[in-house]
Symmetry: C2
Subunit: 341 residues, 2 copies
Amino acid sequence: MSEHVPAARPELRQDPTLDRWTVVAPERGARPGARLEPGGHGYVQAEECPFCGGREYQTPPELAARRDPPGTADGPGWRVRVIPNRFPAVRRDVPGGALLDGLFRRHGGHGAHELILEAPEHVVSLTDLSPARAAEAASVYRERVAALRADGRFAAASLFKNVGPAAGASVEHTHSQLIALPVVPRTVVEELDAAERYRCENGRCLFCDLVERELAAGRLVRESMSFVAVAPYASRVPYETWIFPRRHGAHFDEIAPDEAAELGAFLHGVLTQVERVADRPAYNFYVHAAPFAAPASVPYHWHLEVVPRTTTQAGFEWGTGFAINPLPPEVAAARLRDAAG
Amino acid sequence: MSEHVPAARPELRQDPTLDRWTVVAPERGARPGARLEPGGHGYVQAEECPFCGGREYQTPPELAARRDPPGTADGPGWRVRVIPNRFPAVRRDVPGGALLDGLFRRHGGHGAHELILEAPEHVVSLTDLSPARAAEAASVYRERVAALRADGRFAAASLFKNVGPAAGASVEHTHSQLIALPVVPRTVVEELDAAERYRCENGRCLFCDLVERELAAGRLVRESMSFVAVAPYASRVPYETWIFPRRHGAHFDEIAPDEAAELGAFLHGVLTQVERVADRPAYNFYVHAAPFAAPASVPYHWHLEVVPRTTTQAGFEWGTGFAINPLPPEVAAARLRDAAG
């Protein structure tokens, strides 16, 4: 039984001892900012920024944009612009399909990898824009997730943002990423399992109950008509904050357009609080939502997690899957509330 | 139902939606090198190093040491020295015990947190010592794990090393850490589950079979009489390397003294290969071993994982629990083999 020889095409490989997949993506090593090789590139800043308005020719043709009329695709004048990633982790033109070879399970790297540029001007954080512009950005997040779901060929998508080199950003200019995958992320699978068990035992949504308990415990960070943010009970890092929609719903892309706009402004507020207490740290945020094919009745409740990167994940975290957090989330929540508008 | 107020004492909290524990350890924020607060300390280097020989008075009294006779505890002349961590994640004097309060499960932060200083001179990596000295260090690793297991009050221990700020080291001077915990690390629980299932279905050890398959696939990195190192199939990062003992065994501390010494020299060789191909990167390594209370017959196979930190974990990794690796492990293995002595 001969082992398959890896091509330059991306593929997903599952760890034989854990439910963990790695996207082996040779093309990613070539991207600006990638530090794979000694002496590799650094962090792409303003001078050579391909994401700034006026440099549209430096990127692949856009997939969508918000611009004032009259505007032409790939011309200037956009407010939010969506482009394919030039250095994709997964690709539409790679066939999917699972293969099991003895202990080794893999999937073709079929997927999509998009970038959402939230501003033509060279800013770093979502908070460098107005709340109204963050609202428009979140509306585009919703539209792009809906578009990938409607495609029908992907299992799920991960929407996320990296701000600052310590959070894994390789380009400084504010942007979010959307990766559609042939398998459902492990974290979502586990949350779904827990929520399914909880509904069997309690007849209710785990996340709806959790939000109530977080608020009762004094870990509120921010609230609006449709959203609530908390410093979660088992926060892994200082100032970790989770945003939940009050209205139960499994799918992020099924929120109403006005809810998406409210989410953007709300997220802008939460990030402002985090940046005040932690001195503008590097941060990530990402959305957890139900698998694309799941019906709306699936026992899941989409949410968005903000992870400031003021501490470094070390050998303990890598080795155990646990975290060490020096800041009790009750203290974090109080400080974040004090830093609100 | 009132929520408990967190004390300054460490406690473990389980995420209500995942099998993930966080050690909430307020004391850790006070340690040198902790960057919890804006303007916090940086990376402790030679000038103010408390781990150098001659500065024994700057650390708590030693728990064990290897020194030439005549020597006195906490005096100079040691080759390897074990001390309690002054800023522990968990503590012997904190009561253990699990508590479930509605959705929130916690454990008292009962445990131990030791530092193993592998050299009195101010060096950074294990490779800055001779293979013979790395062999002695690994013998001390084995002894300390055995001592914590013999204590009888801990569920498991995590032995790990952080080298370089990008790998979470807060002190430059070479040292490893050993944290005994009241719960078994999530990664070990998952590997154990997989290995148990595999034995039920195949009657063999998952890890023994895995090593054979990794070698057949050409992902060998290094081998010796008792050990073999491979670039695993689903490597998460460039040059990730796993070391397995050829002799099946569940418990790290049950290896023979000469095997421990051989492991140290072997690890020294692997790290030398990694440092040559990746230009002395920051790195972590950690040991995965069976829970302390498990019998020797438990279907587990201890191993050691080396994780070079040349890439940054970003929003995708945090959000999905997956990894993106730009370097196929087959390529990594070939380069690492070429870099061998």
